[in-house]
């Protein structure tokens, strides 16, 4: 493999609490940045690049640099929903390779659980007049029902079943039960059952928006974290082994007349990422895929090239996903379904990829060398983004 080594993730931190009353999002961001720098063995004053998804009290971005007290020479405020952090990694690869910065940070903080933000069921269309809101607000669609419309169409076209989709929740929970922070998250958020689950458990949980059940939906938590992106020169001297960003792709997709709702932006971003990385899907050990819902993962498994469009049901039945099964391994941190979803999960996809490629995961896959992190931002059945990042260990 002729992979280029132009930028690396040198340090990570995941904020441990999922219920953090009395803490601000900005505090979570600053605390996470400090700990991620510590993880790399770098100092606050080393940071010369700042990526931000405009989260946190005051809107982040420009205000974040002021809050942190740093003066970066590169500032990128890409906000494309939950996949923003894959876009940040993509931009860090580009910017570090171009010499625009050497130590860059992206941070995330959210208190969605403590603030009781009804992300999935709050309804949409409260954003004021716009061409799109005016056409959709009268119908009472929720974020979950938007994803559910994709699930219905996928079932209709390809015969995908709820039993198959439920296996995604089952495998993810298995990983979550091995992650002490995820177990604490489910406990603190008062999950009915903090234990491994079965397909029957998923089917018996209540339907939120047909055909999606409660146990096919991610949690709403507090949380956050940070990642430190560095140049190859810096990567030589960090505390832990670097995890290289070897390819990235970005795309967007939206409701189109006559469009195929079962194919996401990932079908465009993933080939670009694989192409830059010089790898193929069958070489990937770890898939960190944004599991807002079971259907999100199912669509992405297809769009990331692990199986053909429409065949994910069979792919799941063939036995994959769990870390102790052969083949592709999925979301070993416990995912948004069972560990951490404060609203924009994309960052955690990068963090767990790094843990796997360092050999630090709670559900470690022996010898993991290649990971793909794929974020989906926005609405899978409407306007959304796909950000794909390929990560490699030496």
């Amino acid at each position: 493999m002729a992979q280029e080594r132009l930028a690396a993730i040198a340090g990570i931190h995941e904020y441990p609490l999922r219920v953090a009353p009395g803490v601000s999002s900005m505090q979570i961001k600053a605390d996470s940045m400090k700990r991620a720098l510590d993880d790399a063995g770098l100092d606050w004053g080393d940071v010369d690049g700042l990526y931000d998804a405009l989260d946190g009290e005051g809107g982040g971005g420009l205000g974040l640099a002021a809050y942190l007290g740093i003066k970066p020479r590169l500032l990128d405020t890409t906000q494309v929903g939950g996949s923003s952090y894959e876009f940040h990694a993509s931009h860090a690869l580009r910017d570090i390779a171009a010499g625009r910065c050497n130590v860059a940070v992206t941070t995330y903080g959210s208190t969605a659980a403590s603030m009781r933000v009804p992300i999935g069921t709050g309804g949409m269309g409260r954003g004021g007049a716009s061409w799109q809101q005016n056409m959709e607000a009268p119908y009472g669609g929720t974020l979950i029902s938007n994803y559910a419309m994709v699930a219905h169409r996928h079932m209709h076209e390809y015969g995908t079943t709820t039993e198959q989709l439920a296996q995604i929740s089952v495998a993810t929970r298995k990983h979550a039960m091995r992650n002490p922070e995820a177990v604490k998250a489910m406990t603190d958020l008062q999950f009915v059952k903090v234990d491994e689950i079965t397909v029957e458990d998923v089917l018996e949980s209540r339907i939120i928006a047909d055909p999606l059940h409660l146990l096919e939906c991610c949690m709403i938590s507090d949380g956050g974290g940070a990642a430190v992106f560095v140049s190859p020169e810096i990567a030589r001297d960090i505390k832990k082994k670097p995890v290289w960003i070897i390819g990235a792709g970005e795309a967007t997709k939206y409701r189109e007349n006559g469009g195929d709702i079962t194919t996401s932006a990932g079908a465009q971003s993933a080939p670009a990422a694989y192409g830059q990385a010089g790898v193929t899907p069958d070489e990937i050990d770890i898939a960190m895929i944004y599991d807002s819902f079971s259907i999100t993962v199912a669509v992405m498994l297809e769009d990331l090239g692990f199986c053909a469009k429409g065949e994910v049901g069979q792919f799941i039945e063939d036995g994959h996903l769990a870390f102790d099964q052969p083949g592709l391994t999925l979301n070993t941190d416990g995912g948004g379904l069972s560990s951490n979803h404060p609203g924009m999960r994309g960052l955690f996809l990068l963090l767990e990829s790094v843990r796997q490629l360092r050999g630090e995961s709670n559900s470690q896959v022996d010898g993991a060398k290649l990971a793909v992190a794929h974020g989906n931002g926005g609405l899978l059945g409407g306007t959304h983004t796909g950000g794909t990042v390929i990560l490699a260990a030496d």
């Binding site: 009804p118 007049a129 061409w131 005016n134 607000a137 928006a209 007349n257």
Partner: protein, 137 residues
């Protein structure tokens, strides 16, 4: 139920569409090459050209996909029982979000591929815009 959320104005792209709803017309646009443009806009999404033409749809279409919302915390919807949100493909070639009405149980009586026809649901208030919804035919 209480009124559905109304479109907000000024909003120049969608004004003519909603004016059509008051006339009982489901309006959509085409560009000079005949490409269908929807949701309404000031430009062709194929060529970027301005100067689109307005047309009136037959209102007949097919359910492309749907979901039945069991939980919505938004005022006006939270008291409602289960209701459907759908993408409907109109016969003229455009896809719109809407809801399916006139079924006794939305969880069992709606299916993908179902033929539906538009109707305009009156809303309380003299100036309120009727909302285009679909009923199985």
């Amino acid at each position: 139920m209480a009124n559905r959320p109304q479109p907000s104005f000024p909003e120049p792209d969608t004004q003519h569409f909603w004016d059509g709803c008051k006339e009982g017309e489901l309006r959509y646009q085409t560009d000079s090459d005949g490409n269908v443009v929807f949701y309404p806009r000031g430009h062709s999404t194929v060529t970027g050209d301005r100067g689109l033409s307005w047309n009136v749809s037959s209102g007949l279409g097919t359910v492309y996909t749907y979901s039945v919302v069991r939980q919505n915390r938004m005022p006006g919807f939270q008291e409602l029982g289960a209701y459907a949100v759908a993408y409907v493909d109109l016969d003229e070639g455009f896809r719109m979000m809407s809801t399916i009405v006139g079924v006794s149980d939305p969880t069992t009586d709606i299916h993908i591929g179902q033929r539906v026809k538009v109707e305009f649901e009156e809303q309380a208030g003299d100036d309120a815009y009727p909302i285009p919804v679909f009923r199985p035919v």
